[in-house]
């Protein structure tokens, strides 16, 4: 992670059990480990009121570890897009007292938070823990297109092709970092592209 950062850059914590009637977990890949670590600190019976929605990584690991927590509901999905209808339905029918726990890659946390914000959950009340890749979702400020899984600095916009500086400035509403043309003043200046967000 960048040594010097700015205030709009999200800060992720460590999942901890919250008071509440229902607990909804959304995680991808190594995010499962954050849930497992939290489970060790949770009061007994905690997962009886819990639902876990999990997007396994390509290696398919951790499914068994989460099932072993015996949540009231357990669901796996191949991608965030595929779990979106289910998530929206769950939130539409939910009551106050539902607590949300997001764990895994930044892209997953950001997109799940975006849906939850629209459902009326305040971002400060969501538990988050970052695990796994540092790859970023980036919005091109010029064409507004979102580029997924950005790992380099600068990065090329997958929509308009401009070479973008990936800033730490982050929008929860868009679930994306801001990308701004790095050589707007003189297009002949082409800085080297480095692996920055592995």
């Amino acid at each position: 992670m960048a040594a010097k950062t700015i205030i709009s850059r999200p800060i992720y914590g460590t999942l901890s059990p919250q008071p509440g009637k229902h607990h909804l977990f959304i995680a991808d890949a190594e995010g499962a480990l954050a849930i497992a670590d939290m489970a060790a600190k949770a009061p007994s019976g905690f997962f009886e009121g819990a639902e876990i929605v999990f997007i396994p990584g390509p290696d398919g690991k951790y499914v068994a570890a989460l099932e072993a927590l015996k949540p009231a509901q357990f669901h796996t999905a191949p991608s965030f897009a595929s779990l979106l209808p289910r998530l929206k339905q769950t939130l539409t029918n939910a009551h106050m007292g539902l607590r949300l726990y997001l764990a895994g890659t930044e892209g997953l946390i950001g997109q799940a938070m975006q849906v939850a914000l629209e459902a009326g959950i305040d971002h400060t009340s969501m538990q988050t823990e970052h695990r796994g890749s540092l790859a970023r979702r980036m919005q091109c400020v010029h064409c507004k297109g979102i580029t997924e899984n950005v790992t380099t600095q600068p990065a090329t916009c997958s929509h308009c092709g401009l070479l973008l500086l990936v800033r730490d400035h982050y929008s929860r509403r868009l679930a994306a970092f801001q990308g701004v043309c790095i050589n707007a003043e003189d297009r002949s200046e082409i800085p080297p592209m480095e692996e920055a967000f592995p």
Binding site: Q18, P19, G20, K21, H22, L91, T92, A94, H95, M96, G97, L98, R99, A119, G120, I121, D122, T124, S125
Partner: protein, 321 residues
């Protein structure tokens, strides 16, 4: 620069007894113009000139924010209080010229809420009178649960039932009716915001249950103006202005500072807004903190005090004023 409010010159246009404890006061501008628009939950500070003494008490505006020809407040008589409510009840008559502050809102609706759930106890109903009027005008989704001692002390219960029907639920202590709080809090749709105004005990009960049932603190709003409590007299040195003053038994520290001709900024005079926060230079004794502004850590540190509601007992106190 200091903040603080602009003053309004008003005349008492009507005084209406509501029940055995509560009287309503109506104010209009002396120049005949409209009063400033306000938002539901706002209060004004009323200046009471009682002989040598000036009292400044905050009261919630309870009229509709859509009607700014007059402001209305309701005052519950407190026979053992410091005398502000008794002055209002006994000495304020129609035609009296008074000064009030511009409206200030420290108990604002969160307009993002998908639903507003309001819990009132006793005279704590007043800010909800304005908030429900505002929300009803915009087609907002609200539900009000109102606890009072008896039907005859259910100030404005009849008005509210008539206006909003089943959106208002009443609970009477003498009939042993009690809000089923846990069930109520567990059945609210996601995106609901909770508002509570009433006695301290009720506010604490509701906040505790809401927290235990998983309501995030951002969704729980409460208004509790601490009235300044009487206490033992004490001496204070104001280091900046070079004065030593005594705070009387029935006087707040802020009032004593003002009586000495020093004017710290203020908005609420109830330990909420933080404006009159004052640094302690030195002290020998103990603080009696009654505010909701300073953190527990700040209370323990003995380096800050909110003079509007907090007191001191001991040998010496020096403030940066």
């Amino acid at each position: 620069m200091s903040t603080g409010t602009t003053k309004l010159d008003v005349v008492v246009s009507d005084v209406v007894p509501v029940n055995e404890l509560v009287t309503r006061f109506h104010f209009r501008r002396r120049d005949g113009e409209l009063l400033p628009t306000f938002s539901g939950g706002a209060h004004v500070v009323v200046e009471m000139r009682d002989g040598e003494r000036t009292r400044l008490n905050p009261y919630s505006l309870m009229g509709s924010p859509l009607d700014t020809r007059e402001y209305t407040i309701s005052v519950r008589r407190d026979d053992v209080g410091r005398g502000g409510s008794l002055f209002m009840h006994n000495s304020v008559k129609p035609g009296l010229e008074m000064v009030i502050s511009y409206p200030v809102n420290l108990f604002s609706l969160d307009l993002r809420a998908k639903k507003h759930l309001m819990l009132a106890g006793g005279i704590g109903i007043t800010p909800f009178m304005a908030q429900t009027a505002q929300l009803a005008g915009e087609g907002g989704n609200f539900e009000l649960h109102y606890t009072c001692r008896t039907a005859s002390l259910g100030t404005y219960a009849d008005v509210l039932r008539e206006r909003y029907g089943r959106r208002v639920r009443l609970y009477h202590d003498d009939l042993e009716e009690r809000i089923e709080l846990d069930r109520l809090l567990s059945s609210q749709p996601l995106g609901t915001h909770l508002y509570v105004c009433g006695p301290a005990g009720m506010i604490n009960w509701v906040r505790d249950r809401a927290a235990a049932l998983g309501w995030p603190p951002e969704t729980v709003h409460y208004e509790h103006f601490a009235a300044p409590q009487p206490g033992l007299p004490f001496d204070v040195t104001l280091a900046v202005s070079g004065k030593t003053i005594q705070v009387g038994e029935q006087q707040s520290l802020l009032e004593a500072i003002e009586a000495a001709g020093v004017d710290p900024p203020y908005l609420c005079r109830g330990g909420v807004c933080g404006q009159c926060e004052t640094n302690v230079i030195s002290c020998d004794g103990k603080f009696i903190h009654n505010d909701h502004w300073l953190s527990e850590e700040e209370h323990r540190s003995g380096r800050k005090i909110m003079p509007c509601v907090s007191r001191f007992e001991g040998n010496s106190l020096v403030l940066e004023r």
